[in-house]
């Protein structure tokens, strides 16, 4: 009965398994395994939820970790998909910079996150590794005010150069006066 229902598309809410956050259980994932064997202190947490792996990194190790993930044959995350940010105002650490990498040879995605406090929202730039990260980092700088150290041209990209404030921050109103 259930099978037939499924074929007709009637059983719809497939419950996702609860997210796995235990590092030990996730050790068989190549990316996490490689990072842990490289520098266990670089990884502050991991989560496997809805078929997607997220790894939290300490910000000082971000660039080296990405280099490792890109160049190591076991991980081979050669393609830089995306970087963006999530503002968890008023919590601290307030910002989470979210990187999305893709491995074309292994057909796998990974999400890397770096948590940043609001008193010093800065992180290393990945433009050395992937020049294509350039406009994405400028966008995050423009809309969230995250500084990317080592970026060759960190200027506003969407908003006018003389704009005040960073529109995608949660304390910036959607409409009305700022």
């Amino acid at each position: 009965m259930e099978q037939a229902d499924q074929e007709r598309g009637l059983v719809t809410l497939m419950a996702w398994k609860p997210a796995i956050t235990n590092l030990e259980e996730l050790k068989d994932r190549p990316a996490l395994n490689r990072l842990l064997s490289w520098k266990a202190e670089a990884v502050t947490g991991a989560k496997f939820d809805r078929d997607e792996l997220t790894i939290w990194l300490r910000r000082e190790f971000l660039c080296e970790a990405c280099r490792l993930l890109r160049d190591d044959a076991a991980t081979a995350f050669n393609f830089f998909s995306d970087v963006t940010c999530v503002d968890w105002y008023p919590e601290e650490p307030r910002f989470e910079v979210v990187y999305s990498l893709l491995s074309m040879s292994r057909k796998e995605r990974i999400r890397l996150k770096v948590k940043l406090n609001s008193d010093d929202p800065s992180v290393e730039s990945l433009t050395e590794l992937w020049p294509g990260a350039n406009p994405f980092e400028r966008e995050v700088f423009d809309l969230f005010g995250i500084h990317f150290n080592g970026h060759p041209y960190l200027h506003r990209i969407m908003m006018p150069e003389d704009w005040q404030g960073h529109p995608l921050r949660k304390d910036y109103p959607v409409e009305g006066y700022r």
Partner: protein, 404 residues
């Protein structure tokens, strides 16, 4: 920063060298396909450096999304990449469905695939027409828009709108397709390959076209990967990658199609790849028509999907759910997903964070045009200014997609 991509650094500040001049191109320039502004540093007719300046069309869609219910975001997604509204709808709907854990019926998936391929044809027709027009082939434009009009009529038939369709819903489709729709799609798909032949007969062996495109605005495989290029631009440089085949979504694994790849990396290679893609898309449409499954077009999830009008007239629960979904939206379990789909321009990705309420906490669009615009640097550096127009056209950018 390697010197190869040094033009990402400012152009204007280096004025003063007597040899070079800085030329401003756009934002109101017909061949920039929107409001793209380019700063070109020239030495004679050779481009020394080039810097794209974007943001003229920034409307803060990502911010607006945070203030809308999940279902209210769908019309906004149309307006990001206005040449492929269905692709944006699909990417967003898939992302939210992934967050919800919602499996949608086969028929809805197949109709989505079919409409997505029609959207791809629509987008590629606009690209081919305007690209050829930029380079000087006027006639192609007229033919392309003739067929595009057919597709837009199909969209109007199915959704009531020609361009901003908003036809997909979270959990399925807005309505069952109208009577006679599949027959009209069939007529269109049967005739379309001959139209592609027609465009090709005007361009592929045309010496003016090949002279303006072959060997022009080259980009290597390594640069394509390093710059995060995707879609036709990357496949023209030998990157054998298509999300429809390699990371299938919405039942694409059940369709049989080839991913055209060319290795030359020039404007002509990108032209060849996209024209072949049109042929493959037509095949997918034909397969979808031939094997269209029967069944519902919406998932049976009463708390998420609006009930049928008929049910609302007879069932109390349906009326209540309808009222609740419309007035207070539906809640989505906390979590985050990234869903990438292959848009006509490349990898269109939606990153959605939910905090468990009825409005998304954060919606981010990884738009293909934004990343592909990087390609303008290696394409134009050291080349002639006359080829800039060919390069922009071959990237196939949509400025709504770049600026959001």
């Amino acid at each position: 920063m390697s010197s190869k991509f040094s033009s990402l650094e400012p152009v204007v500040e280096v004025i003063g060298d007597d040899r070079t001049m800085v030329l401003n191109m756009g934002p109101q320039h017909p061949s920039t396909h929107g409001v793209l502004r380019l700063l070109l540093e020239l030495d004679g007719e050779t481009i020394v450096r080039i810097r794209p300046d974007v943001g003229y069309l920034h409307t803060g869609i990502e911010k607006t999304c945070e203030a809308k219910f999940y279902q209210q975001v769908v019309p906004l997604t149309d307006r990001i990449d206005y040449l492929c509204p269905m692709t944006n709808n699909l990417a967003y709907a898939l992302a939210v469905e992934k967050l919800l854990g919602l499996e949608i019926p086969k028929r809805a998936q197949w109709i989505r695939v079919m409409l997505n391929e029609l959207t791809r044809l629509n987008s590629h027709l606009v690209w081919l027409g305007t690209h050829a027009l930029d380079i000087g082939a006027m006639t192609v434009f007229l033919y392309c828009f003739r067929e595009r009009e057919d597709i837009l009529r199909l969209f109007e038939m199915v959704s009531g709108q020609r361009m901003m369709t908003s036809y997909f819903r979270i959990g399925g489709l807005a309505l069952e397709v109208p009577l006679g729709f599949f027959e009209r799609v069939k007529r269109f798909a049967d005739a379309f390959p001959s139209h592609i032949d027609e465009y090709e007969s005007l361009l592929t062996k045309n010496p003016i076209w090949t002279g303006r495109t072959k060997g022009v605005a080259k980009i290597t495989y390594e640069d394509a990967i390093a710059l995060g290029l995707s879609g036709g631009v990357a496949r023209g440089s030998g990157v054998d990658w298509d999300l429809r085949r390699d990371m299938p979504y919405s039942s694409y694994e059940q369709f049989d199609f080839k991913v055209p790849v060319a290795t030359e990396g020039d404007v002509f290679a990108r032209y060849v790849v996209r024209v072949e893609e049109m042929r493959e898309s037509t095949k997918i449409v034909q397969q979808a028509l031939a094997g269209m499954p029967e069944g519902p077009i919406k998932a049976d999830a009463p708390k998420v999907v609006l009930p049928d009008r008929e049910k609302m007239k007879t069932q109390m629960e349906a009326l209540i759910y309808h009222f609740k979904i419309v007035t207070e939206g539906f809640t989505v379990p906390a979590g985050e997903v990234y869903q990438g789909v292959e848009s006509p321009r490349g990898e269109m990705g939606y990153y959605i964070v939910s905090d468990g309420t009825a409005k998304p906490y954060r919606v981010h669009m990884r738009s293909p045009s934004f990343a592909n615009l990087n390609a303008i640097l290696p394409m134009c550096q050291g080349n002639l200014i006359a080829d800039v127009v060919a390069a922009i056209g071959s990237i196939d950018i949509v400025l709504g997609d770049v600026d959001r």
